[in-house]
Amino acid sequence: MDHKSRKKTILVADDDIDYLGQMQLLLEAAGFEVLTAESRKEAEEILARRRPDLAVIDLMMEHQDSGFVLCYHIKKKDPSIPVILVTAVTSETGLEFDTTTEEERSWIKADRVLAKPIRYEQLYAEIGRLIGKG
């Protein structure tokens, strides 16, 4: 297949199937191929077979820190895959973190952190900045 016509692939991992379904609808409409995973375990299984062009992963899945662990594994496997970490913790617990300081970037292995509920324009913009259009 001609490299230029290949759809870019995005892995979306989230334990809320409605959220997952919504991301899939939107990203497919934007021209991406979407791989969905309902847990870190499922995401790791997909990653063993496929190399997505980008990953959008939720922080809290089977465990409170599943997203951090998954980020770490993706980056360890292939540091060139951009990762967007999505989290509801800011609105749920008031816990805040981002990747704008060097110190936080050093332990959060994500390229961007976005808060739920996600604003789609923002998500499209971030994806565009990281890997271009679908």
């Binding site: 809320d16 199937i17 609808l25 375990k41 509920p117 789609y120």
Partner: protein
């Protein structure tokens, strides 16, 4: 053990010493709240010194002599009024048991009074009364606070549980409004409608269960007691669960005598059975089996609902009957529930002098057993 600080304000050194000696090894037992109270006294030679000491470190109880050089006991009381020290329990000590002094002391906020001369026992009795009053009030305050805490937690979780389906539905609506091109296939459209319907139903169930929880706790709604046939109620519950069971190839069997009656509120019995049977289907494997067994043992009725489902660990089972406890793992991820069903079953079983228990093996199944007392319908 609690130690209460007593400030002894008296200008007679002998008096201060006598009080200190009498209370040094005195213990007050409050078995009903499991407390043993010890006392620690500190002396003040005058009203001025007492006020200063109170300002620095307020005692729990103040033994205040009425007649002192300088400012009197009544004046001390007056000055404490309106300050943050006004809640110190004060026992006024009067040299002459004049009713007038006692009355004005009580009016100014003293808790009690003690007439001089007094025996060590009289002193201990008076101090005991003050101490008990104080400890009980603190205990009640603590209970009230814990209750508020539990309530607050309940509301936080509830808010979270109500928000989840709303977020999902809102998410779909946003896509329809802002990205209609994502909704173009018939399939997608139907899937979105289906998911919104499921989440709406979940929210409605949560609200119904919530109202039921509130109703049981407040005891407000009038219960209608009648002779209820549990076998018939079980058949009705099975019928309600049948569509989902059929869809997933789950067989439901009833093992019960033709009729088994007890005095009860029909809707409460229906709630118990519906919750247990619908759980046994929801948490079952496809092609599994549910057995609903109802039997009478002496004055008790035993309802046992067994499934061949995912089961749970002992640790998971231990917290299962609490509000909003839902076991979260790969197997339960897509099963919707309000998290209130089993806590309601437990509350209702208690109402009938009974209980509900679970025996379970992971990946093999669970048996929920509700035992109700036929002679107890919760009206006594």
């Amino acid at each position: 053990m609690t130690t209460l600080k007593i400030l002894v304000a008296d200008d007679e050194p002998g008096m201060r010493l006598a009080v200190e000696r009498a209370l040094r090894s005195f213990r007050l037992d409050l078995p009903e709240i499991g407390e043993e109270v010890h006392f620690e006294t500190s002396p003040a030679e005058s009203g001025e010194q007492a006020l200063e000491m109170i300002g620095n470190s307020p005692p729990d109880i103040l033994l205040l002599d009425h007649k002192m050089q300088g400012i009197s006991g009544l004046e001390v009381l007056e000055r404490l009024r309106g300050t943050e020290s006004q809640d110190i329990l004060t026992v006024m000590v009067t040299a002459y048991a004049s009713l007038e002094t006692a009355v004005s002391a009580i009016k100014k906020g003293a808790f009690d009074f003690l007439a001089k001369p007094f025996t060590p026992q009289e002193l201990k009795d008076t101090v005991s009364k003050a101490a008990e009053n104080l400890i009980m009030a603190r205990h009640a305050r603590r209970l009230e606070q814990e209750k508020r805490q539990v309530r607050f937690q309940f509301i936080s979780v509830l808010a979270h549980e109500l928000k989840a389906p709303l977020n999902a539905i809102e998410g779909y609506l946003n896509i329809m409004r802002e990205q209609p091109e994502a909704m173009q296939s018939r399939e997608t459209y139907e899937r979105v409608i289906e998911r919104c319907t499921v989440r709406t139903a979940q929210m409605r169930k949560l609200i119904v269960d919530l109202l039921e929880t509130t109703r049981i706790e407040s005891g407000r709604k009038k219960r209608e007691l009648a002779q209820v046939d549990l076998a018939a109620a079980a058949r009705a519950a099975i019928e309600t669960a049948a569509p989902e069971a059929q869809q997933r190839g789950i067989e439901i069997r009833l093992e019960a005598p033709g009729q088994i009656t007890m005095t009860a509120d029909r809707s409460e019995i229906e709630i118990i059975l519906n919750n247990l049977v619908s759980n046994a289907v929801k948490y079952n494997r496809d092609g599994g089996r549910v057995v609903v067994k109802i039997e009478q043992r002496d004055s008790r009725v035993v309802i046992a609902v067994s499934d061949t489902g995912i089961g749970m660990t002992a640790e998971e089972a231990a917290s299962l009957f609490q509000e909003f406890v839902r076991i979260k793992n790969d197997k339960t991820r897509n099963i919707l529930g309000s998290g209130l069903g089993l806590s309601i079953v437990k509350k209702l079983a208690l109402l009938y002098g009974g209980k509900v228990e679970v025996a379970s093996t992971p990946d093999e199944g669970s048996t929920f057993t509700a035992t109700l007392d036929r002679a107890d319908c919760g009206e006594n």
